[in-house]
């Protein structure tokens, strides 16, 4: 090691000056990411879905609630993916549903992540009484069945988009809190944390800059799984009719068509596939991020 670095000492002056420039940390992360094919496919898939969500309704101007023709026509007869029990076009419902489904999934997960990781991080880092208090609160939320709790919240408040997001966020953060607490507990005993403290790092800096990046790999996987879960939660709430009546989501499509599953499989299968593909893309991305963030796997 010593020898080969010494050998490179006589480099042209220009090179050294360039080397001192602060490195842009994400460049390598992005490069690593592209090397992972599955993650790349996931990213492309999700970008397509986001693109559809953003621009689909503009390009494809058809009201998903509008009745287009005869109910339950087979896919390909007149409409690409057939019609549902009221004669609405399944394809346009999926296009419109992409936007609201993704919006709910992302915002609700962000909410979950914010509550879960901050509570877990504080509990794990400070330990003792703080840990005790926060974990009892977490347990309180854990013993409530999340779906029932979310149903109650949506039913008590008006079933709007915001209520649904809030209800999912408030009920599903516990597992992330537990996981981040466990990670923080484990990592705070590592020597580099003590070494950082010994050179004067503040608690907030220790949490955000020293511990959190080290706790990130399992959390990223959990978060991506959480996004998939959120979509399914939203579907479950919609299935039970607890959703904003003015918004078409994939879950709602499945929920509304549940009675016609055996007669008209396309009414449930296509929105179900949409959910599956989205969740899969996100999971692949999470997996890729996990590898890309790990400095030990870099440059190989």
């Amino acid at each position: 090691m010593m020898k080969d670095t010494v050998g490179q000492k006589d480099l042209p002056a220009g090179f050294e000056e360039e080397a001192v420039k602060p490195e842009i940390w994400w460049v390598e992360t992005v490069r690593m990411y592209y090397a992972n094919k599955a993650a790349f496919i996931g990213l492309i898939g999700l970008l397509v879905i986001i693109f559809v969500g953003l621009f689909g309704p503009i390009v494809f101007q058809a009201d998903p609630f509008q009745i287009k023709g005869a109910p339950l026509t087979r896919p390909g007869d007149i409409y690409l993916l057939g019609t549902d029990y009221l004669g609405r076009d399944v394809f346009s419902c999926i296009i419109y549903g992409a936007r609201s489904t993704l919006a709910i999934a992302i915002v609700a997960t962000a909410f979950t992540v914010l509550i879960g990781i901050s509570l877990g991080a504080l509990a794990g880092f400070y330990g003792g009484k703080v840990d005790n208090l926060l974990m009892r609160i977490t347990e309180y939320f854990q013993v409530l069945p999340p779906l029932v709790f979310a149903m109650v919240l949506v039913a008590v408040f008006k079933p709007t988009l915001i209520t649904v997001v809030f209800a999912i966020g408030v009920t599903t953060w516990t597992s992330l809190a537990r996981l981040s607490r466990a990670e923080f507990l484990k990592i705070k005993e590592r020597e580099f944390v003590m070494a950082a403290r010994a050179v004067g790092a503040r608690n907030m800096r220790l949490i955000m800059r020293i511990l959190l990046p080290n706790a990130l790999p399992p959390l990223i996987v959990a978060i991506t799984l959480q996004i998939g879960m959120t979509i399914i939660y939203e579907a479950a709430l919609s299935f039970l009719g607890l959703t904003d009546p003015d918004i078409m989501t994939w879950g709602k499509m499945i929920g509304l068509s549940r009675d016609f599953f055996f007669d008209a499989w396309w009414t449930v299968t296509f929105p179900g596939l949409a959910i599956l593909i989205t969740a899969l893309c996100i999971a692949l991305i999470g997996d890729g991020l996990n590898d890309a963030f790990n400095p030990k796997l870099r440059g190989r």
């Binding site: 090691m1 580099f192 003590m194 070494a195 010994a198 004067g200 800096r205 020293i210 080290n214 400095p295």
Partner: protein, 352 residues
């Protein structure tokens, strides 16, 4: 500077010079732990001081409180279960035991810094070496990112890392153990602390690297006037590095003196035993093979509580008086021994 005042031969002048030069003064430092509802004295009345540019070796076997002394100086005693129960740590005109945690954070890294035993695990795996040093600099100094990174490169040059421009961008796992320890030293010294605590800095490294690291520490010390507290269980390391030695046993400072005094004239039976345990390399191994002497018994269990001299159960010279804890007998010139054997000795009278 020392020589001119010595020529004056005025004891008082020397005294005042000494106190001016004192960087760190520890008085009766005590650390207690609460274990299963019982209070255990982990450190009992540790006192010592450090002059500018001096190296103090702290030596003793495992569990004698060496590392705890270091953590106490940093105010990083794990809490719970531990706390500093008494004593003062004076640095400049501040008593570190009384500082607020907020103020203490500015002292760590800037005034006192520490390097740890395990260079393999003491660096954060997710950041580049340069980033970690730069962040430390930014904790204490008003620098932007690129300025701090340039200073990090300078620090890596100070610790004699070849091609520092390239190394700042590497991750800890890409470096060898010796390199990592150099990085740790660079990080600890980045904000020019007055005192550097090195807690067994070379235990995890092989012997050639150990010599390199010691040479490096010495060079830096000469250039910057940093005080070093070297914690080790290896008297060889202390003899090489330190000016003075403090021997610890069961949370007590039992002897202190210069390296020569300890090596040639150890007074405490434990110190004598410790020195005898040092293996010597003998050419003729054949027939004169001897068993390496050892100190019989083990370190006392602090949980049981101690009365009297902590070393008495293992000491070959135990007497009735040893049921009482001996005070630290001051033999002058920062030489002290915590043993009844030196009391009333002609030696004490002569030197006093």
């Amino acid at each position: 500077m020392m020589h001119s005042t010595l020529n004056c031969a005025d004891a008082e002048a020397l005294q005042s010079l000494n106190s001016e030069n004192t960087v760190l003064e520890v008085e009766n430092l005590c650390v207690d732990f609460k274990v299963r509802g019982k209070i255990v004295h982990i450190l009992s009345n540790i006192s010592f001081n450090l002059s500018r540019g001096e190296t103090l070796g702290i030596i003793g076997e495992s569990g004698c409180g060496k590392s705890m002394t270091a953590l106490a100086l940093m105010r990083m005693v794990p809490s719970p279960p531990g706390w500093i129960s008494a004593g003062r740590i004076l640095m400049g005109d501040e008593n570190l035991t009384q500082l607020s945690t907020k103020r203490m954070r500015t002292v760590r890294g800037r005034q006192i810094s520490m390097i740890f035993q395990e260079p393999m695990t003491s660096l954060n795996p997710v950041y580049t070496v340069g980033n970690q040093i730069a962040e430390t600099i930014r904790c204490h100094k008003d620098r932007n990112r690129s300025q701090a990174l340039e200073e990090a490169v300078e620090m890596l040059r100070v610790v004699q890392i070849p091609n520092p421009e390239r190394l700042v961008r590497e991750y800890p796992h890409q470096l060898s153990g010796g390199m990592r320890q150099r990085v740790m030293i660079a990080m600890a010294l980045a904000c020019e602390p007055k005192v550097l605590i090195a807690d067994e800095p070379t235990t995890a490294l092989d012997v050639t690297i150990q010599a390199q690291i010691f040479d490096l520490l010495k060079e830096i010390q000469e250039a910057r006037g940093t005080c070093i507290i070297l914690i080790t269980h290896d008297f060889g390391a202390v003899a090489e590095m330190a000016d003075r030695v403090m021997v610890m046993y069961a949370g007590h400072k039992i002897e202190e003196g210069t390296v020569e005094e300890i090596r040639n004239d150890a007074r405490h039976p434990y110190t004598k035993g410790l020195l005898q345990c040092m293996p010597e390399i003998k050419v003729d191994i054949g027939e004169n093979r001897e068993r390496l002497p050892e100190i019989p018994g083990t370190v006392p269990d602090l949980l049981r509580g101690l009365s009297g001299c902590p070393f008495a159960p293992r000491c070959p010279f135990t007497m009735l008086k040893c049921k009482e804890l001996p005070p630290s007998f001051d033999l002058g010139n920062k030489r002290s021994v915590k043993c009844w054997l030196v009391r009333g000795d002609t030696y004490v009278k002569e030197s006093a």
